[in-house]
Symmetry: C7
């Protein structure tokens, strides 16, 4: 099991197809869209300057939208995850 | 339904026509203007360093002006929305 | 009516003539001067880290000087306004 | 009358001669020196994060040294003034 | 023995093979992955603005993932260690 | 007399010879060294976010080392002084 | 004697040989390593925003590792010292 630290959240990311020509990613006509993922684990939260912890606004099992290109990819037990800071999660899909 | 996190606000944006020549957006003669939108959902607010939450100054149904190019476009149930930080909302149109 | 958010202030700006040659704005020999405007509406103020609000030092009807090029132009009911942050207002003309 | 906002201070600046050749300001051999001025008006001070105001360390009539090139020039009633932030005032000449 | 200061943590790093051609490190097709290591020693923590210390979320013996290229390599008693800031540790492998 | 403001300190600086060739300052082989000076006057100190003042750690008459190239040169009563921020004073020579 | 100010620490630095070819410092194959030194004197510490002082985590006589290229070299009584900020000291060698 992976335990994320601070305000980090571990996500399993929904794959999306990228249209490429000859290996070059084609810029979409539209503005960059965020990606979706499922929350696998949640850190204890960030510590404020007065010493209290602010828990994440998401919980295990939530489907969330997060800023594309944010976070760090990790591989664990043969599966790919993304660990993002809570501040890069935009919305919960309910 | 989409639930925005932190101080984020979900907007349905009023479309504007852009004058282009051959696909190139023409710079307007005037300074860049903000855009209008309608508030669809409001996050719980940003957390201050002393731990209290500051709620947004806008509420569902408000028509607002926001800084052009701010925020992240999302697609949900076949519709386009814009999720902006509360600090990028300039004014409420009353 | 437009209600500015945060520490924003809505101004009606005094126009100034710009000397141009062939559409190119001529740099003045002197340092850049601020512009004048009249306060039309005032936001609720900025929120300090301890949660209290600091109201603006200006009020409706004040004539003020503000940093040139600050703020965002908005058009409302066919009139042009400028919405500036309170920190970009330099002085009240009394 | 002009009322400066925040920690701003209005100065009447002592003129200095600049040696130029053909309109180009000549760099002095020495390091850049500050300029002198007389305090005309003082803002209410800057607001700390705990909500209290810190008044300026200068008062009307003080002769002060300030960092060259700091502040904004304003013209009022046909006279030139300089409005500088209190933090750009280096010393009082007593 | 080495005693790390502040929020620093001393790690023994798991080596990874890098594929190179002629001495040039080849960029992987995937996004940069974090590295693994074992916690050898933990600093007393970082000091908040209110004077309290925040201890690290890791302890001696933990296997952790940390941001690649973070930290400072040190050599002590003939062995290589990496000293990283606690904020660069992403997750504990449990 | 000159009264420095904030955390500023007025110094009388010990002169050092600079080796130049044809007016061009020669870079020393070694790392840049700080300079010495004598404290002439001390400001009231810097104001913390909680409103209290932190007095300087130096007093009139102290011989101090300060970061080279820090501060602002001033001329007063025909003499040259340097006004530096207290944070640019490295050590007291006792 | 030299008394360091704020969170500064005076070190006597262990010399290391640098391999050069024709006066050009050769980049080592490995990542930049920190250097070692002995603590000669310790400042009173840094002042937090709430006014309390945080003493350094090192004391006179400690052998420490510090970030290479940090600090300011000073010469005193014919000897070379390095004055570094406490935050650039990585670890105590015990």
């Amino acid at each position: 099991m992976l335990k994320p630290l601070g305000d980090r959240v571990i996500l399993e990311v929904a794959q999306e197809e990228e249209k490429t020509v000859g290996g070059i990613v084609l810029a979409s006509a539209a503005k960059e869209k965020p990606q979706n993922g499922t929350v696998i684990a949640v850190g204890e939260g960030r510590v404020l300057d007065n010493g209290t912890k602010v828990p994440a606004e998401v919980k295990e099992g939530d489907t969330v939208m997060f800023e594309k290109y944010s976070g760090t990819e990790v591989k664990f037990d043969g599966k790919e995850y993304l660990i993002v800071s809570g501040k890069d999660i935009i919305a919960i899909v309910e």
